[in-house]
Subunit: 339 residues, 2 copies
DNA sequence: TATTGGCACTCAGTGCAGGTGAGTGCCAAC
DNA sequence: GTTGGCACTCACCTGCACTGAGTGCCAATA
């Protein structure tokens, strides 16, 4: 059972280790933090912490380093929930406020977050399952090539090229467009997909083939709304933060395999403060056992949440990263909730 | 003056050094390449090559390493212009042939190129200055929020949100849409922008304010067509290929600052074979002095070219990378030229 | 009982010395 | 022009002693 002061010692070790990147010894602690006790006392506490597997000594006679379990305890109980500086808040508002459209908002958000934290930042696209179809447009690019454009009231636009086997008649295109529009516009993503499924059979025979092609394209676009995407920024921070370059390889790989990150995102649940962390070996299944992920939800509409966060070495500054992630998520929620 | 065999020696050194990552000595060369002469003879040739600054010895008594100048000579005169294997060609055709739309084509291309070369791959978006406006759509998202969508015959779609100060009348939206459509549809990017510039003044007074907002948005979208973008993939290859992790930091940074790469792309000119290379210190101005770039043009329409290429350590396999870049660029030209 | 100073011990890191070997430059001979 | 021989250089490895930061343990203390 670790004493009150023992926890303070753990907190000090986490702080100093994150700052200095070097194992921290009992003497350093009494020098830097005013504990009012001697180094020997700290050593006794450290022995207990080590027994509890909260810290570990890399070598028989070197300072201590927090274990994953130590970081976990720190994050859950000890980390300061300090707010961002007002200058930082202002930066967030100003930088995000200038956005043009959804793509722009998210790309600004991810760059901002990576600059605030000096880590790799990730932002998940909203899923918009509650969004409804606002407009379907069919444009003839070439005699046998159409472009189907889908617009929703969430402001997102999807496009897809449709190739036909034979050249199509402009009036046919128009009739198909109207039919598809009638079936889909005003419905939610899921409803529209269902309605389009059976539509082609109800068309005049000459239009059925074209109708089938276009309906399939639009259904494919609707499916895209469920399929998650990520934007990311700041991967250069990996090379700055990490000391061993071999350890950045799996991380860079994971960043390219967005599927992995999306699954990780999906598994995390925010705590009472709206932020959650996956630490070190908790990510072992994803090949990221020396990496931590700090994540928060943001909301685009009632019931529609997506996530954003930062990825960095297990030895990261959890306090400030959690604060930044939380602040950005809140501001993003406010910004996107306006519409 | 370097002899015929001297150049063969340089070629052997480049080959072996790229493969082994270690300075190559005279003995290794006579063992691996059937030169039919003794090591001492090779040493004489190497002394000449060193005098010409084509190779250099990292330490007084170690094998030789090509200099940037050596790589340059190798690329310009010695590298085999060997075609891809038929299996690789097939992979290109199959993988790219499945594409859905332009975004998909480019994202597949960049992934393919990074897999073929094991380097970071870059693909520049086509500029489409010859493209013409096919359709302008205006969708009401909220009482005072519109979405302007621009579609060109090159199959690209641009979107932008327009905020109005006061709620707008649906019929006004429709009239503005028709007016803008009449002015822009059928014209090229540049012509449409010019036509829209003065349009609002010709509208009925009550529509002028809305017309100005929307016209500006569309002009902004048109401007986007000139502004270049890059897609990239395979940055994890940096951590695999590079031996020093400090050297990957500036590269990762450059990858995030697309402007830098675009400027680099712009400065390069393809040679007779359609491929060009920037080697090592030739990129010093961009902080990439230990990095080489292999680039080729691809064509989307007569007079419309963009570029793609790979980025990697100076010590890269130029022969196969140039072959891959060239093949992919050719196939992409064929694929996009079809329309 | 908790804290403290003292002390022996451990071990990573550093600097030094010697040995090894891959590779070179030079030269005389072919 | 090519070759074998040879002395020379220097990165790299090994073993060794030394140093110092840090620990664990213990007896003394408040």
């Amino acid at each position: 059972m670790v004493s009150e002061r023992g926890l303070d010692v753990l907190k000090a070790i986490v702080h100093d280790y994150v700052a200095s990147r070097e194992p921290v010894g009992s003497k350093t602690i009494v020098e830097r933090h005013a504990f009012g006790v001697s180094a020997a006392t700290i050593r006794n506490d450290m022995a207990l912490l080590e027994e509890e597997e909260l810290i570990v000594a890399p070598h028989t006679s070197s300072g201590r380093v927090p274990t994953d379990k130590g970081y976990r305890l720190f994050v859950d109980q000890l980390a300061d929930r300090r707010p961002l500086s007002s200058a930082q808040r202002l930066a967030i508002e100003q930088f995000l406020g200038e956005s043009i459209d959804l793509d722009d908002v998210l790309s600004r958000t991810v760059r901002l977050l990576s600059q605030l934290t000096n880590q790799v930042a990730l932002v998940q696209y909203p899923s918009f399952t509650n969004a409804s179809v606002r407009h379907v447009e069919l444009v003839t690019l070439a005699p046998s090539r159409l472009l189907a454009v889908l617009i929703t009231d969430s402001g997102r636009v999807e496009q897809r090229i449709v190739e036909t086997v034979t050249p199509v008649d402009p009036s046919d295109v128009d009739r198909v467009k109207v039919a598809i529009g009638d079936a889909a516009v005003g419905r939610t993503i899921a409803d529209a997909a269902a309605a389009l499924e059976g539509l082609p059979d109800d068309l005049d025979v000459p239009l059925q083939q074209l109708g089938r092609l276009v309906a399939d394209a639009v259904i494919g676009q609707l499916g895209h709304y469920r399929q998650d995407r990520l934007v990311l920024a700041g991967s250069a921070n990996l090379a700055r933060t990490e000391d061993d370059f071999r350890s950045i390889f799996p991380v860079l790989e994971a960043l390219e395999q967005q599927v992995v990150l999306l699954r990780l995102f999906g598994e995390m649940q925010s705590d009472a403060f709206g932020v959650s962390a996956r630490i070190g070996r908790e990510n072992a299944a994803y090949g990221l056992s020396e990496t931590s992920l700090v994540v928060s939800d943001y909301t685009t509409a009632p019931g529609e949440t997506a996530r954003l966060g930062v990825l960095g070495p297990t030895r990261m500054d959890y306090s400030s990263n959690m604060a930044a992630v939380r602040a950005v998520a809140r501001y993003l929620t406010r910004l996107l909730g306006e519409s």
